[in-house]
């Protein structure tokens, strides 16, 4: 009986499992293997080169640059978009008029494809004809070259990313807020707790499972989402806004070096795995699940 049940379970899992293996696990293993090999071109036979590709990677200044950029990109976008998402969720969860319109407004950036958003923001950021600088010009300030200034390019990308992501995370927080028991709040009011204290002692702790979920997703996105780079900066000027995944794309498809691209991919996978593990181990204990 038990065995037959197991077989049935496996059969039911089979479709999903075969897709996972074919499109996730097998390519991952292949990338790892590929990162230890090299060939002159895609038609030449490849040979095992040990750690040579990783040695190259350590000596590659562009790799270090994009890795550093990606770190700052995550630091710059993740906490901000989570904080914004919580604020927006609290706001549209309150009993004021027109909240559904507000919800829609906050959610709109999420509906738009990243490529579309980037194309729109390309014109927002444009130094002479762009929206931002025209607004600044109204108050007599000469706006900067948002995407063309090495000191600003990455930050400009971050601002757009936060705008794009916060609405998406808001939906998760909104859903979580609506499951919170009103009795807790009634009790807190009886005790005369301040709004800030209610948020800090009740709302925020109860939202922690959502925060963990959102945090993992936000960090993954900081590494995964590079669509906008294709439109906005192509990683420039001089790699100042280049990110790891975009560099992998360049290496694989512009430089046609699938071996070095595989090496970079392995580094990225390892980084993400470590981050996810740390998050789960550290935060999971502190989270209150019901």
């Amino acid at each position: 009986m038990h065995n037959r049940f197991n077989l049935k379970a496996w059969l039911l899992l089979l479709p999903a499992l075969s897709f996972l293996i074919a499109f996730t696990h097998w390519p991952t293993l292949k990338s790892i293997w590929r990162s230890f090999t090299w060939a002159r071109s895609d038609v030449a036979p490849s040979q095992f080169v040990g750690l040579e590709n990783y040695q190259l990677l350590l000596d590659d200044p562009v790799f270090w640059k994009v890795f550093e950029n990606n770190f700052w990109y995550a630091v710059g976008t993740v906490p901000t978009s989570i904080a914004l998402a919580i604020m927006m969720a609290l706001w549209v969860n309150s009993k004021i008029r027109g909240t559904s319109l507000l919800r829609l407004a906050f959610f709109t950036p999420t509906i738009l494809p990243m490529i579309t958003v980037a194309n729109i923001w390309l014109f927002f950021y444009s130094p002479q004809i762009g929206l931002f600088n025209q607004l600044l010009a109204l108050v007599g300030i000469e706006g900067p070259n948002w995407l063309g200034d090495p000191d600003l390019a990455l930050s400009s990308l971050m601002v757009m990313t936060v705008w794009k992501e916060a609405g998406f995370f808001m939906i998760f927080y909104l859903a979580a807020l609506q499951t919170l028991s009103p009795e807790l709040y009634a009790a807190a009011k009886l005790e005369g707790a301040s709004a800030w204290r209610i948020f800090r002692k009740i709302t925020f702790p109860l939202l922690m499972p959502t925060t963990l979920f959102v945090l993992i997703n936000a960090i993954l996105n900081a590494f995964k989402l590079v669509d906008h780079l294709f439109i906005l900066t192509k990683g420039g000027p001089n790699n100042e806004s280049n990110l790891l995944l975009y560099y992998i794309y360049e290496t694989a498809f512009s430089f046609l070096d699938s071996y070095y691209a595989a090496t970079l991919t392995v580094v990225m996978l390892a980084t993400l795995a470590v981050i996810a593990l740390v998050q789960m181990l550290l935060l999971d204990r502190k989270i209150h699940y019901r």
Binding site: R40, S41, D42, V43, L122, F123, S126, P127, Q128, I129, G130, A137, G140, E142, N145, L147, G148, D149, P150, I231, T233, K234, G236, P237, N238, N239, E240, E250, F253, S254, F255, L256, D257
Partner: protein, 428 residues
């Protein structure tokens, strides 16, 4: 969709008539092509493909728009590696060395058989063939080809007291006229720039123009050597830097390729350097009087050619290659090349295109359309080397580092040259 419905009709009619063999006798070709300047170029390609299919009912062309030049190459190569390959594609003219290293393409010399076909292969402007030849053979046939031209706002020239029929022809004039054309507003901010040269997207291409104007080239024909650190090349980059930093006729830092045309149309700059591929769009959208001229020169005039060539893939049957050749011949024939040039602004690929009624009448009413062709006598090849993507990026990064003031022109270019040499050593 159109192709699918056409196919279904063919199959339907054939099966009704019991002519199943008739359908299988048709040759199906898949082709990828890029569009780098935006606009409704896909419709124009589709129209030309439809015309070819109407004339050749036994050949079906599945033309797939594949993004920019990089995307088109990625998709065509991915298709080649998978089971459903393409038989031909329009790709970057400068992909030639890498496509050959991958053994992906065949030489047209090995495909042409009749005298008429050999003559056709010799009918293109020689400057456009430079990026298509290697080892004495022709691997790419020119199709959507361009040079960089100078678009300028004649109204602004008049307002600044300049002769609108006398655009700058030398580097000095470019600076002196640029200064007159740069206008500051009441609060000291610049409302109107003298000129803009885009430095994102394809910076190495713009730089190819400046170096040629300084009588230098960026690489050898074999694509095994680069000359980024030659004094003349460094000087060209310093001139580019000076336009923004010293002379103040151009915004400092990066100038975005993608929005530059809109800048010109919104009249925030009097002059822009851009691909001829923009010409028809600028003509349709500009609500001011504009002109098009050859780029100014220093030691000589110059611009690199640019754009896409037709390639035929090795992995296809003899019959498919024959059909592909027929299609390429059709697309580059005088009539079609003239139609393509008129609709887009890309140049007619051979002298015969300019002898057609279509282009003759068009040039009479709109002389700027001839500038790209006239500039061909001063043209040089676009940067094309082995491992082109990497080498190009080294140069792009160096240019951007210099223009944003992160390093001097000389340091940046010396660095790029060293990196390029390291990569290219293997190919000598």
């Amino acid at each position: 969709m159109k192709i699918l419905s056409k196919y279904l009709t063919t199959v339907g009619v054939a099966s009704i008539l019991g002519l199943s063999t008739a359908a299988s006798a048709a040759t199906d070709l898949t082709m990828y092509y890029p569009v780098a300047v935006g606009g409704s170029l896909t419709k124009i390609v589709d129209g030309m493909v439809d015309k070819f299919e109407a004339e050749n009912p036994d050949i079906n062309i599945n033309a797939i728009y594949a993004g920019n030049y990089n995307d088109a190459r990625v998709k065509a190569l991915a298709a080649l590696q998978s089971g459903s390959p393409a038989q031909l594609s329009v790709m970057f003219s400068i992909d030639i060395h890498e496509l050959r290293n991958l053994e992906a393409i065949v030489a047209f010399d090995d495909l042409v058989s009749t005298d008429e076909e050999r003559q056709w292969l010799n009918s293109f402007y020689p400057a456009l063939m430079e990026n298509g030849k290697a080892d004495g053979k022709t691997w790419g046939v020119p199709f959507q080809r361009s040079t960089i031209v100078m678009y300028y706002n004649k109204d602004m020239f008049r307002a600044a007291g300049l002769d609108p029929e006398m655009p700058p022809t030398s580097w000095e004039e470019f600076v002196s006229m640029g200064k007159k054309l740069t206008k500051k507003g009441a609060n000291g901010t610049v409302d109107q720039w003298g000129a803009m040269i885009p430095s994102t997207g394809y910076p190495y291409w713009m730089f190819g123009a400046l170096t040629k104007q300084n009588s230098e080239v960026l690489m050898n024909q074999e694509g095994t050597e680069t000359y980024f650190d030659k004094p003349g090349v460094v000087e060209a980059l310093e001139y580019w830097q000076d336009l923004g930093n010293k002379h103040g006729i151009m915004p400092k830092g990066m100038i975005e390729w993608g929005t530059l045309r809109q800048n010109f149309l919104d009249q925030t700059t009097a002059i822009m350097w851009h691909s001829t591929g923009n010409l028809t769009t600028v003509k349709n959208k500009a609500n001011f009087d504009f002109g098009v001229a050859k780029l100014p020169g220093n030691k000589e005039l110059g611009s690199p050619t640019g754009g896409g060539n037709f390639y035929i893939f090795e992995k296809s049957s003899a019959e498919e290659k024959k059909a592909a050749l027929k299609f390429v011949k059709f697309m580059t024939s005088a009539e079609q090349a003239a139609h393509w040039s008129k609709s887009t602004g890309y140049m007619g690929v051979g002298p015969s295109a300019y002898e057609t009624e279509t282009l003759k009448t068009y040039l009479k009413t709109f002389p700027p359309a001839a500038v790209a062709r006239d500039q061909l006598t001063h043209a040089t090849a676009e940067l094309a080397t082995h491992e082109a993507g990497r080498v190009r990026k080294y140069l792009d990064d160096a240019i951007q580092a210099a223009l944003t003031g992160q390093s001097s022109a000389e340091d940046a270019l010396t660095g790029a040259q060293k990196q390029a040499e390291r990569i290219l050593r293997r190919y000598k």
